[in-house]
C-alpha cells in the first residue's frame, strides 16, 4: 500500500504513518533499526530494492532522503509504502527540494524508530567524512560505497582520512567471501605463513586495495599486486596466490561465479562457487552487526598512510607568481578583474562557478570592485556561488563578520543584479541556534553536499574556481593560525577554531584540504606591516608555522601585492 503526500512536513508524514498503522494493523513486527538511504536525485530503485530485500532479514524502517537542491521551489514531498510494497519493513521516501536540506536532520527526526539504532547508507556519493555528515553523526553505522563514486580509490583515501569507528564501505563487504575462503585455505596443512602473497586485480579497484591491505596487515608480509589479463573482465579481486614452503596455493576467477583453486602437489583444479554478491547481500551483511568493524578501520588505515603533514595538500602544484600594484586600490582591481575572468571561464566549461571571498581591508576592497568586473566579464550571476574561507562566530550583523564587511560592496549589488540568495553560502552566526562545533559541522556539510563526490581531501582535485585569501602579519590565512592546534584537523571540511590569537576568539575556518581544493588561489595583501609575512610565505611550504605558504591552486597561485607588501621580496 502506497500513500503519497505533496508539500508536506516530516511530522505530517509521521502522523499519516500512525493512521495507516491503525487502519491496517501493520504493526505486529518488531523493527530492529532505522535505515536512512541518502540518494542524490538519480534512480533510487536499486538501493531501495536491496533495502526491501534485506528487510526480510532485518525488519527495518527505511527512510530514503532524495535530495534535489537545484529545484526551483523549496518543500517536501513524501511517499509511504507499507505492507506488500515494502517487504518486511516500511518505507518512507522523502523528496527534499531546495532549501529543506538546510536542516536534513529535522526531516528524519520525527520518523526515526525510538531507541532503535540508525544506519545511514550513501549508495553513491560518499561524504568526505561520514561522521561529520549531519545524518551520519546521528548514526551508529555509516555505510558508503567507494566503488560507486567517480574516483573509487580517491574516495576510499578520503574516507580513510575522515574515518571514525562505525564507518564501513561496501568495497569491504564485497570481499567477505574471498576473505573467508583465503582464511580457510591458510589452514590447509602443513600450515605456514606464506613467504610471498600476490593479489590479482585492478589497482584502481577499492576492493583490491583493501584485500592487499588486509593480507599485509594480518600476515605481515609484502603483498604484490598484479594486473589481470587483458581479456579478464569483471570487478574486484580476480586471483590470489600464497607461496608456501610446500608450494603455491592459487585462486583464479574463471567466470562470473566460479573460482578455480589449485593446491600444492595437486594438478586437478578444484572449482569453488563464488558469485559476485548482490547489493542486497552486501547490505544484509552490513546490517547483521551494528557494532564498529574495527578490522575494517585497521585495514583502511593500513591501505593509505595518513596525512601527518598538511604540506602534502599544497605540494606538487604550480609555483606562485606575483602581481605587484602601486597601492591597495590597484591590488583590488587587479584581483577582481582576474577573478571575474576565471569565473567566466569556469561557467563556460562547467556551467557553474564557485568563488571564496574573504574579509580584511584588501579583501573588502577587492569585493567592492567585483560587481563591475563580473559584469564586464559577462559572468552569469544565477550560477555563481559565494563561499567564505573563514568567518567569525559572532552575531549576524556584527561588523566583525566577513560577510557583513562585504555586504554593502558585494552582496547587495549582486543580489540586486540577480544573484540568488541560496547561492550565498553564509557561515552560521551565533543567532542560528548552533554551537561553534555544530556551526562548523553544518558548514562542512553544506560544502560536502555541494561538492558531491568530487570534493575535498583528495589531492589534485578542485572544487572552487577562485579562492581569495587575506594574509595576516603573522602569516595566517583564513583562521588557520601559526602553531594553533585547530589547524591540524584535516578530517573535516570546516573546523571550529577557539582561542584565536586575533579577536574575536571564536571562528569557523575551512581546513587545509578544502582550501587546497581550488583551481586558482589569490592571496590579497597590502601594507608594509605584512611585508615580512609575505617574504616568509614565499619560502618553503610550512603549514604549521607559515600558513600563507601552504595554500596552492591546482592551476595557479597568485600573490596580488602592493609595493609596500612586496618590499621584502
Amino acid at each position: 500500500m502506497i500513500t503519497t503526500l505533496q508539500d508536506t512536513t516530516a511530522s505530517a508524514v509521521a502522523k499519516t504513518m500512525t493512521e495507516m498503522r491503525e487502519t491496517f494493523g501493520a504493526n505486529t513486527i518488531g523493527r530492529v533499526l532505522t535505515l536512512i538511504i541518502v540518494a542524490t536525485g538519480e534512480t533510487i530503485d536499486e538501493p531501495l530494492e536491496a533495502a526491501v530485500h534485506a528487510s526480510h532479514e532485518h525488519p527495518a524502517r527505511v527512510i530514503v532522503v532524495d535530495v534535489d537542491q537545484e529545484a526551483e521551489t523549496s518543500g517536501l514531498d513524501a511517499e509511504i509504502r507499507v505492507g506488500r510494497d515494502a517487504g518486511a519493513g516500511e518505507i518512507i521516501i522523502l523528496r527534499a527540494r531546495g532549501n529543506t536540506m538546510i536542516a536534513p536532520d529535522t526531516l528524519v527526526m520525527p520518523l526515526l524508530l525510538p531507541d532503535a539504532p540508525i544506519v545511514t547508507w550513501w549508495p553513491e556519493a560518499a561524504p568526505s567524512a561520514p561522521v561529520n555528515d549531519v545524518l551520519g553523526s546521528m548514526s551508529q553505522r555509516r555505510i558508503t560505497d567507494a566503488a560507486a563514486c567517480s574516483n573509487p580509490v580517491g574516495t576510499l583515501k578520503r574516507l580513510r582520512r575522515g574515518y571514525t569507528s562505525g564507518d564501513s564501505d561496501l568495497a569491504w563487504s564485497r570481499l567477505t567471501t574471498w576473505r573467508g575462503l583465503v582464511a580457510s585455505l591458510y589452514e590447509i596443512t602443513p600450515v605456514a605463513v606464506p613467504s610471498a602473497v600476490e593479489v590479482t586485480g585492478q589497482e584502481d579497484d577499492p576492493s583490491v586495495v583493501l584485500m592487499k591491505a588486509w593480507l599485509e596487515n594480518a600476515l605481515g608480509v609484502e603483498v604484490t599486486l598484479r594486473a589481470p589479463e587483458q581479456d579478464a573482465a569483471g570487478q574486484g579481486v580476480q586471483g590470489l596466490s600464497l607461496e608456501r614452503p610446500d608450494g603455491t596455493i592459487a585462486l583464479r576467477r574463471t567466470g562470473e561465479d566460479t573460482v578455480v583453486l589449485s593446491l600444492p602437489g595437486d594438478d586437478s583444479d578444484q572449482h569453488v562457487t563464488m558469485p559476485q554478491r548482490s547489493l542486497y547481500e552486501l547490505l544484509a551483511e552490513e546490517l547483521r552487526r551494528l557494532d564498529p568493524d574495527e578490522v575494517y578501520g585497521e585495514v583502511l588505515a593500513h591501505a593509505f598512510t595518513g596525512v601527518d603533514d598538511a604540506a602534502t595538500f599544497a605540494s606538487g602544484k604550480p609555483a606562485p607568481t606575483d602581481v605587484v600594484s602601486a597601492d591597495a586600490a590597484g591590488v583590488a582591481t587587479e584581483a577582481a578583474t582576474a577573478a571575474a575572468a576565471r569565473l567566466a571561464e569556469a561557467q563556460t566549461e562547467r556551467g557553474v562557478a564557485h568563488l571564496v571571498v574573504t574579509g580584511g581591508t584588501v579583501g573588502v576592497r577587492a569585493a567592492g570592485a567585483l560587481p563591475a568586473a563580473l559584469e564586464a566579464a559577462g559572468v552569469d550571476l544565477s550560477t555563481l556561488h559565494l563561499w567564505w574561507g573563514d568567518e567569525r562566530f559572532v552575531g549576524p550583523d556584527d561588523d566583525d563578520r566577513n560577510a557583513v564587511q562585504v555586504r554593502e560592496g558585494l552582496l547587495e549589488p549582486l543580489e540586486a543584479a540577480g544573484l540568488p540568495e541560496r547561492n550565498v553560502h553564509l557561515v552560521p552566526s551565533t543567532q542560528d541556534g548552533m554551537s561553534l562545533a555544530e556551526a562548523a559541522a553544518w558548514y562542512g556539510q553544506q560544502l560536502d553536499s555541494a561538492g558531491g563526490d568530487e570534493p575535498f581531501r583528495t589531492r589534485g582535485r578542485a572544487f572552487f574556481d577562485v579562492l581569495w585569501l587575506g594574509v595576516g602579519p603573522d602569516a595566517h590565512v583564513a583562521s588557520l593560525f601559526p602553531g594553533h592546534p585547530a589547524q591540524r584537523v584535516t578530517s573535516a571540511s570546516a573546523i571550529p577554531v577557539e582561542d584565536s590569537p586575533k579577536p574575536p576568539p571564536l571562528r569557523v575556518s575551512l581546513s587545509w584540504p578544502v582550501l587546497n581544493s581550488a583551481r586558482h588561489v589569490a592571496l590579497l595583501v597590502a601594507g608594509a606591516e605584512k611585508a615580512e609575512a609575505v617574504a616568509k610565505a614565499h619560502g618553503d611550504i610550512d603549514p604549521l608555522q607559515v600558513p600563507a605558504s601552504s595554500v596552492r591552486g591546482l592551476e595557479s597561485t597568485t600573490w596580488f601585492l602592493d609595493e609596500a607588501a612586496a618590499g621584502k621580496l
Binding site: 518488531g30 532479514e57 525488519p59 567477505t176 600450515v191 593480507l215 578444484q270 558469485p275
Partner: protein, 520 residues
Amino acid sequence: MTDSSAPTSGRDAQDALNPLRDTRDRRLPLIAGPSSMVMFGVTGDLARKKLLPAIYDLTHRGLLPPSFGLVGYGRRDWSDDDFAEYVKKSVSEHSRTGFSESVFEQLRGGLRFVTGTFDDPAAFERLTEVVGELDRTRGTGGNHAFYLSIPPDAFPQVCEQLANSGLNTPRDGSWRRVVIEKPFGHDLESARELNAVVEKVFRPEDVFRIDHYLGKETVQNILALRFANQLFEPVWNASYVDHVQITMAEDIGIGSRAGYYDGIGTARDVIQNHLLQLLALTAMEEPVSFRAEDLRAEKEKVLAAIELPEDLAAHTARGQYVSGWQGGEEVKAYLEEDGIPADSATETFAAMRLDIATRRWAGVPFYLRAGKRLGRRVTEIAVVFKRAPFLPFRSTDTADLGQNAIVIRVQPDEGVTLRFGSKVPGTQMEVRDVSMDFAYGMNFTEESPEAYERLILDALLGDPPLFPRQKEVELSWKVLDPITAYWAEHLRPAPYRPGSWGPDTAHEMLARDGRTWRRP
C-alpha cells in the same frame, strides 16, 4: 580428555593459529577446514530430504571448503555418477537456497559412492581406499566425519567395521568424528549399550549426537533472552514463577514412521530429548561461560535435580488418538494406521509434571506435553507468573486479568510474547490481558539456516556446544525410565479426538494442581 586439550580442533584453536582470523572480524564466515563426510544410510528419507540439501546449502553459502568430499555408502550398485544424479535430484527438490548448477559442480567434484553392506569387510576396504584417494587428490587432509543415518541396531556392525579398517583412527594432526542421530537408545540401559559400542571405536569428544532441535535459532535464543538481559533473570525463579509449560504439538499423525514409532511412543520419541533439553535450557543456572563444557555442566546439574511426582497416576497422562474429522479431513485412528497392531499400547500423547529440587525452582512445577494429531503444530515454552500479591482495584475491575506470562515460541512463527494486564480505554477502570509480541519478522525464517546446516557445519568445525553428551542422554533416561515403566504396568493410553489438545486425563492432571493448560 576435554575439548580444550585437543589443540588442533575447535574454533578457539583455529583462531589462535590463523592470523587471518581476527576475533573482532565478525564478518569472516567460519568455513570448515579441509574434510570429507562419509554418510551411511544416504538413501534414507532423512538424508534425501534434510542432510544432502543441508550439505548443498552449506556449499552454496560458501561455508564448506572447496576440497570437501562426500562419500555415500550403501547397498545400491551405484557408480559415482549415479550417486551424483541422486544427490542432484535430492538437492534440486529440497534445498533451501535454490539450485545452482555451478554450486553443484563444486560439490560434484568430491562425490564418491561405495557399494556395500554394513557387514562387508571388502566394501570397507574400498571405503578406506576412497577416503585415502580424497586425501591425496582433493586435499581433505585426513579429516573425516562419519554420519550414521542408520537404525541404531546397525551401529555395532558399522562401528566394528570402521575400527577394523582403521578408519576411526586419525593420523597426526587430523581428526575422525562420528555423527549419530537420535534415538540414543530407548531407555537408560540401551543408551549405555549403544554408547559403549560407539565409544569403543571413537573418543567421547569425537562423538557428535545430533538433536536438530538444539540447532534451531529460537532454542539458542533462550540463552540470549535469559542471560543477555537484566529484565528477565531477576523474576526467573520460584518467588515469581507459578509454573512452566513446555508444549510440543504436531497436527499430523505418525505418517510413515509406524515401524519405528510403535513400541517407542511420544515420551521416548520427543520428551526424552527435545522437551527435556528445552526444560534444561529454561531452568538451568547461568553457565560461567558459553564454552561447551560449562554449558553442559549446568544442563547436567538441572537434569540431575529433576524429581518425579510420587503419584505417577495423578501427575502424568498418556493418550492415543482415535479416528475422526480433523480440520476438514477425515483421519485414521492410531490403531488403524498402517503397520500398527490393533492392540498397541503405544502413546501418541504424553504429559507429565516434573519438579526441580533446587532453591531456584522448589515448588514450581514444569508441565511437559507432547503429541501427535493435536490442535495445531506448535512448540513453545510458557513461563507463567504468579498473580500480583495485592490488587488495589475492585475485584470486578480485574475479572479479566490472567497471569502474566513470557512465552517463547520455538516453532513455527518464532518469537517471544509477553502477556500482561492493561487498562481498557474508557471511563471505567477495567484491566484486561494484552500480548506484546516480538516476532523474528514475517519472513525471517527464509533467511535463517536450517538446523541441520548449523549442526553439520559445527560437527565439521569441531564446535561442540550444541551437541548433547552421553551424560545428558543418560540423565534424561533416568528421568523418563520410571514413568515409562509405570505406564507399561499400570496406565493404558486414554483415547483423544484428533485436533484436540489431548485426552481428558491431561486436563484433569493440571486441574488437580488448580491449573489449566495454556491454549498455545
